[in-house]
């Protein structure tokens, strides 16, 4: 369900970010007013798309606006953070290699390196994957980083969901790329695009940056790109096709050269609305009071439940359903129940006690 204001905010964000990942060819002319930009600047910053937005408006008249000052500062900060992040990746790779573990760098810098500048994209954790045999030794080796400013994530659903592929096969498609003074291992392009698509769809908070990553990648694909490897089996192949379709429909990327062009042009409406809504209502990470506290103090429970209500996209992915024309409401409900079963149990107990008491 998408109200008009969410739809227009989401569309405005899409307009600002269309082509923002390019150095060439130039993105289409940006036709929005300073007041329209000021409406979405906060959302762009919160969803960490500020640097990309700055890159997009930097040669337009909008560069003189107050909103542009905020966006350019985000760009400067991201540029410095990129430098720090690269330094940290080198440290972590060196450390793991000294323990005879060869990690694969995924997401983050491994996609940022395709942007015209590394600071256009935000960085969070260092996402690495290792073979299941190396997982425990890697966790032990990385203990020395605990408590430091370097966060490392070794567990990734997108990789676990690689279908029937073996680690050996997966690893054989990786390759080394230069980062500062060393080579780091990154995914093969087929696996990389797949991981980016699945990562975007499965997350509870979808930043527009993730769709820009996919758009960028689609424009960088070489002629020998193996779509069969990338798409794999259903339902993942359908999800990936739809993620590509979102990049096409919201950010204007051409899908003519892809085998999923037809699917990309015919997406379920709820999927597009779902993404626009997530962009328009993007919130920072929140610590919320446990739902159980609302059993004694029911005020605010509606808002608390609304905030926790899962997105239709995430729910369909959790239940491994293809994206059909019908919104996956039953799966959202099922997803909500599976996430909140403790609370639901407590709620039923509380209702039972009340009815016994009365």
């Amino acid at each position: 369900v998408l109200d008009r204001s969410n739809a227009s905010t989401g569309r405005l964000i899409a307009t600002v970010l269309t082509g923002a990942w390019r150095s060439a060819p130039p993105p289409p002319p940006l036709e929005i007013t300073p007041s329209a930009l000021s409406l979405v600047v906060e959302k762009l910053l919160i969803s960490r798309a500020g640097a990309l937005a700055w890159w997009r408006i930097r040669y337009s008249d909008l560069r003189e606006t107050a909103a542009a000052v905020e966006l350019s500062n985000a760009y400067r900060l991201f540029t410095l953070k990129a430098a720090l992040h690269e330094r940290n990746i080198e440290l972590v790779f060196k450390h793991l290699r000294s323990a005879n573990i060869e990690p694969i760098l995924i997401k983050g810098w491994s996609i940022a390196r395709f942007y015209p500048e590394q600071g256009l994209r935000p960085y969070g954790d260092i996402d690495l994957c290792v073979s299941s045999d190396d997982l425990a030794p890697a966790q032990a080796a990385l203990k020395s980083f605990q408590g430091s400013a370097i966060d490392i994530d070794l567990i990734h659903d997108e990789i676990d969901g690689m279908g029937n592929r073996s680690w050996k096969e997966f690893f054989s498609r990786t390759h080394l790329v230069r980062l500062g003074n060393m080579d780091v291992r990154v995914l093969g392009l087929e696996d990389h695009l797949r991981v980016l698509c699945l990562h975007m769809l499965k997350g509870p908070r979808m930043s527009p940056v993730l769709l820009c990553d996919i758009a960028l990648m689609l424009e960088k694909l070489p002629g020998h790109f193996d779509w069969e490897v990338c798409l794999g089996d259903r339902p993942q192949s359908d999800w990936i096709a739809c993620a590509i379709g979102l990049a096409h429909q919201l950010l204007g990327v051409s899908v003519d050269q892809t085998p999923v062009a037809d699917r990309a042009r015919h997406l379920p409406q709820w999927l597009i609305s779902g993404v626009l809504k997530q962009w328009a209502t993007y919130r920072p990470m929140e610590y919320m009071a446990p739902l159980a506290t609302y059993l004694r103090h029911p005020q605010g429970i509606t808002t608390a439940l609304r905030i926790r209500w899962p997105s239709p996209i995430e729910s369909a992915v959790v239940f491994r359903r293809p994206f059909t024309r019908t919104p996956p409401l039953p799966y959202q409900l099922g997803h909500f129940v599976s996430l909140r079963k403790v609370f639901i149990g407590q709620l039923l107990d509380s209702l039972r006690q009340r009815s016994t008491a009365s």
């Binding site: 600047v41 906060e42 910053l45 919160i46 500020g50 900060l77 410095l80 920072p284 009071a289």
Partner: protein, 140 residues
């Protein structure tokens, strides 16, 4: 004759990135980020501990294709010192007084304003700071 000071830029524990006309510096000692405009960046880059203030003025004049005096260099050094971007404090020789940006601008004329050295501290935009976890209080 009083010896001319030769400032030395601090390079330890700094992450530096050049972006178009600006130099961005992240100070790992205090987790602060700074942005130096072109002229401040030129001063910082040329502070190698051997180049004196008059030499710096000459260097910048040639780089920026504009007459630069020592007051201009001192304005940059004052800011670099303030943000801990020099190894040691540079003492002004006797008789050299600090000039404000305004005084310098008056002296140089409007055309020179763009080249005045400027170091600003980069602060995450308010909305970006909200990336950290926010806490919604429990119901009362």
């Amino acid at each position: 004759m009083e010896q001319q000071p030769a400032p030395l830029a601090r390079t330890r524990n700094l992450v530096v990135r050049e972006v178009s006309d600006e130099l961005l510096i992240y100070d790992l000692d205090n987790d602060k980020a700074h942005c130096l405009n072109k002229s401040a960046a030129l001063v910082w880059k040329n502070c190698n501990g051997t180049v004196t203030i008059p030499d710096l003025a000459q260097l910048l004049a040639s780089e920026l294709q504009s007459p630069i005096d020592e007051d201009f260099i001192w304005l940059a050094l004052d800011q670099l010192q303030k943000f801990h971007l020099l190894e040691q404090e540079v003492a002004r020789p006797a008789g050299v007084h600090a000039l404000s940006r305004r005084q310098l601008m008056k002296g140089l004329g409007v055309a020179a304003v763009v080249a005045l050295p400027l170091v600003i501290s980069l602060v995450a935009p308010t909305a970006l700071q909200a990336q950290t976890v926010i806490i919604i209080p429990p119901p009362k």
